[in-house]
C-alpha cells in the first residue's frame, strides 16, 4: 500500500516535470524577453523562444527549465557581458542563436555558462562572437552536442575558448563545430568525459586541450588548421582514437602535443600534413598503434624524458622526416611499422623487411642544428650524406630502429 502511494506520487511529480507549461517568448507576445519568461516559469516548464532578436544579457537560469529556440531566435548581448548563466540542475538549452558577448580582460564572459549544475543539455545552439562560447564549471553529467561556436579570435591574450570545462565530471561533448577561438575545446580538471565527432578548426592555440584531466576519451574528431591539433598535458589515461589531425602548420605546430602524460592509447588516428605529427615530451607508457602519418614535416618528434613509448603497426607515408629523437631518449620501441621511405628488401617474402629501418636520418640532425639547411632537403648531396650515415652511424642514435619494418602499408580500418 505504501509502495502504491509512493508510486503514485512519483508518477505525479514526474508527469509534472515532463509536461510542464509552455511559455512563449516573441516580440509581440506577453513575454518579450527570455528573462521575463524565466521569472514567470516553474521547474519543468518549456520556454519557446520564437523568431526575433532579443537584446539581453546577464540572464540567470535558476530553475529546471527547457529553453527552445527556432531558426532565427537570436539573443544578442550587444557586447555588454555574459548572456546566459545556468545555476540549476536539469536545464536544457536548445536551438538558440546567441551572439555578441564582448571581449573582457578581467572576467571570463561566456555565451552560456553552466555553474555547479548537473544533468544539463546544451544542444544545437549557434554561438557567434561570444568571448567564451560554452563555459562549464564544477558541473557534471551533462551534454554539449551539435552546437556551432564561431569566434573572432585575433590573439591568444584577448580570446576565450569555444567550449571550456573546468572541474567537471562525466561530460559528453559531441558533434560540435568550434572555430576561431583560443582553444576549440578546453578541459581542465575534467575526468571521465567523452569528446567525440566534433570538428575543431582555425583556433589560435589548440583544437582540443587537456590539462590535469584523467580517464577521458576522444574519438572521431577532426582537428584542422589549428595552432596545434590537440594538446594533452599533465593528464593520465586519455584514449585517443580515430581522430584526424591535419594542416597544423607553423613553428610550434603539432597535430598532437603530449606533455607529461601517462598511459595513453593513440589508435587509428590520421595525422596529415602537419608541421609535426606528434610532439612528445616527458611522457610514459604511450601506445601508438594503427595510425597513419602522411606528409607531415616530422611524423613524430620525441623530446627528452620519454619512456616506454610503443610505436607499432603504424603507416609512415611520405613524411619529410619520419622521426626526430633526443639522444638520451632511446627507450622507446618501434616495431612492425610501414615506412614509405624504407629502401630495404624482403627476400624471404614474409612481408617484413630483412634489414632494419632507421627512421632518424643525418639530415634531421643537421636541420635541428641549422634550420636554414632545410632548403637543401631532398638534394642529391643530402641523400649522399644520409646514405653514408646509414652505412656507419656517427651522429644519429644507433639503437633507434624498427627491426621489423613491414613491406606493404596497413589498410585503414575506419574512416
Amino acid at each position: 500500500m505504501y509502495l502504491r502511494i509512493i508510486a503514485f506520487f512519483y508518477f505525479l511529480t514526474s508527469a509534472f516535470y515532463l509536461s510542464g507549461r509552455e511559455i512563449i517568448v516573441c516580440p509581440s507576445c506577453a513575454f518579450t524577453t527570455l528573462q521575463g519568461a524565466l521569472d514567470d516559469a516553474d521547474n519543468g516548464d518549456i520556454i519557446s523562444v520564437q523568431k526575433g532578436i532579443y537584446y539581453e544579457f546577464g540572464i540567470v537560469i535558476s530553475k529546471s527549465v527547457t529553453i527552445r529556440g527556432v531558426d532565427g531566435s537570436i539573443i544578442d548581448g550587444g557586447d555588454q557581458g555574459e548572456i546566459i548563466t545556468v545555476v540549476a540542475n536539469n536545464v536544457t538549452i536548445e536551438g538558440l542563436t546567441i551572439q555578441n558577448v564582448g571581449t573582457s580582460y578581467v572576467e571570463d564572459r561566456a555565451g552560456i555558462r553552466v555553474r555547479k549544475s548537473r544533468d544539463f543539455k546544451i544542444i544545437n545552439n549557434h554561438l557567434f562572437n561570444t568571448f567564451f562560447g560554452i563555459y562549464l564549471e564544477h558541473s557534471r553529467d551533462g551534454e554539449v552536442s551539435g552546437n556551432i561556436v564561431v569566434g573572432n579570435a585575433k590573439e591568444e591574450m584577448s580570446s576565450g575558448n569555444a567550449i571550456h570545462a573546468w572541474y567537471c565530471k562525466n561530460i559528453l561533448i559531441s558533434a560540435n563545430t568550434v572555430s576561431r577561438h583560443r582553444d576549440g575545446i578546453y578541459f581542465e580538471f575534467v575526468d571521465n568525459s567523452l569528446v567525440k565527432e566534433n570538428v575543431s578548426r582555425q583556433n589560435l592555440r589548440y583544437g582540443l586541450h587537456f590539462m590535469f584531466s584523467n580517464n577521458d576519451d576522444y574519438f572521431n574528431n577532426r582537428f584542422s588548421n589549428n595552432g596545434a591539433g590537440v594538446a594533452v598535458m599533465f593528464s593520465k589515461k586519455i584514449n585517443m582514437w580515430e581522430n584526424t589531425f591535419e594542416y597544423n602548420w607553423g613553428k610550434s605546430s603539432y597535430g598532437l602535443l603530449l606533455k607529461e602524460i601517462y598511459d595513453a592509447e593513440i589508435l587509428n588516428n590520421v595525422f596529415q600534413e602537419n608541421t609535426m605529427g606528434i610532439f612528445v615530451e616527458s611522457s610514459t607508457r604511450i601506445n601508438y598503434k594503427h595510425n597513419d602519418f602522411k606528409q607531415n614535416g616530422w611524423a613524430i618528434k620525441i623530446s627528452g624524458g620519454c619512456l616506454d613509448n610503443n610505436i607499432s603497426e603504424n603507416n609512415f607515408i611520405s613524411n619529410t622526416f619520419d622521426l626526430s629523437v633526443k639522444h638520451n631518449s632511446n627507450d622507446n620501441l618501434f616495431d612492425g611499422n610501414y615506412w614509405s621511405a624504407y629502401t630495404g628488401y624482403d627476400l624471404d617474402k614474409n612481408g617484413i623487411g630483412d634489414i632494419p629501418y632507421r627512421p632518424v636520418k643525418l639530415f634531421n640532425y643537421i636541420v635541428d642544428k641549422t634550420p636554414e639547411s632545410m632548403i637543401l632537403m631532398r638534394s642529391l648531396f643530402v641523400d649522399l650524406i644520409n646514405f653514408s650515415e646509414k652505412v656507419s652511424p656517427i651522429f644519429t642514435p644507433k639503437n633507434v630502429m624498427d627491426n621489423r619494418p613491414v613491406m606493404t602499408k596497413y589498410r585503414k580500418k575506419t574512416l
Partner: protein, 260 residues
C-alpha cells in the same frame, strides 16, 4: 627557325638515343609502379631521378647533338638563313625532343595507373614541369658548351663537371656555409644562393609542393614569406624561366660572332 626546328626535331625523334631515353623513363616508371602502387611514393622517387638525371642527360645530349651535327650545321650556314635562326632552331629541336621523351616516358605509365583520378595530380604536374624546364636549361647549356669548345673532350669534360658541380658540389658548399655561419641569420643567403642553381630551384619548387608542412616549421620571416605563400612558387618559376632564357640568348650571341 620553325623550319630548322621541324627537321632537327624529326631527326631526333627518330634517333635511337631518344627512343632509349624515352624507354628508360617508361620502364623506370613502370618498375616503380610494379614495386609500389602508391602514386605519391612513385612521384617522390621519380623526382629524385629527374632532378639528378635530366640535367646530366640533357647536357650530354646537347653536347653530342652539336658535335654530331657540326658538318650539317655548316651546310645550313651556307643556306640563305640567319645564324640565330639556325642555332636556336637546332637547340629547340634538342630541347623539345628531350622534353617530349620525358613526357611520354613518364606520362604514359601514369595515365595507365590513373593519375587523373589521383589527388597527386598537382605534384605530378609540377614534376613534369620541372622535368621539361630542366631539359630546356641543360640542353641549352650543353649546346652552348659544344658551340664554345671545338675540342670534344674539353666539351664533354666541362659538361660533366658542370653537372657534378650543380647537382652535388654546389649543395655541399652551401651546407658547409650554413653550418659554419649558423650563428647568423642566413635565410636570405640560402634562398638567394639557391636561385643561382637551376637544379636547386627546381628542387625547391617540388619541396613547396611535397614538404610544405616541414618548411613551415622554420621560424624565419623570410622563409615564411618565401615558402609559405604562392610568392615562393611564382618567384621560383619566374627565375627558372630566366634560366631557360640565359643559354638561349648566349647561344644566339655566341653564334653571331663565331667562325665555323
Amino acid at each position: 627557325m620553325i623550319r630548322i626546328l621541324k627537321y632537327s626535331f624529326f631527326d631526333l625523334m627518330r634517333s635511337r638515343w631518344t627512343l632509349v631515353y624515352c624507354a628508360f623513363y617508361a620502364l623506370l616508371t613502370l618498375a616503380l609502379f610494379t614495386l609500389n602502387a602508391d602514386i605519391s611514393k612513385v612521384i617522390i622517387t621519380l623526382m629524385n631521378v629527374i632532378l639528378t638525371l635530366v640535367p646530366l642527360i640533357a647536357l650530354i645530349f646537347g653536347v653530342i647533338f652539336y658535335y654530331n651535327s657540326r658538318e650539317f650545321i655548316e651546310l645550313l650556314l651556307s643556306q640563305p638563313i640567319r645564324r640565330s635562326e639556325i642555332f636556336i632552331g637546332q637547340y629547340l629541336g634538342v630541347a623539345l625532343s628531350l622534353s617530349l621523351s620525358l613526357l611520354i616516358g613518364v606520362g604514359v605509365p601514369f595515365l595507365f595507373y590513373g593519375i587523373f583520378m589521383s589527388e597527386e595530380i598537382f605534384n605530378y604536374l609540377t614534376l613534369l614541369l620541372v622535368g621539361v624546364i630542366l631539359s630546356m636549361i641543360f640542353a641549352g647549356i650543353g649546346f652552348l658548351i659544344a658551340l664554345k669548345f671545338q675540342n670534344k673532350i674539353k666539351g664533354f669534360g666541362l659538361a660533366i663537371f658542370i653537372w657534378l658541380f650543380l647537382a652535388v658540389i654546389y649543395d655541399g658548399i652551401l651546407l658547409l656555409l650554413l653550418a659554419i655561419f649558423s650563428d647568423y641569420p642566413l635565410e636570405k643567403l640560402a634562398i638567394s644562393v639557391s636561385m643561382f642553381n637551376p637544379i636547386d630551384l627546381s628542387r625547391i619548387l617540388i619541396l613547396l609542393k611535397l614538404d610544405v608542412s616541414a618548411l613551415m616549421g622554420y621560424t624565419g620571416a623570410v622563409f615564411q614569406k618565401f615558402l609559405g605563400s604562392t610568392m615562393g612558387m611564382t618567384i621560383a618559376i619566374g627565375v627558372l624561366f630566366i634560366w631557360v632564357l640565359i643559354p638561349l640568348l648566349s647561344i644566339r650571341q655566341l653564334s653571331l660572332k663565331k667562325d665555323f
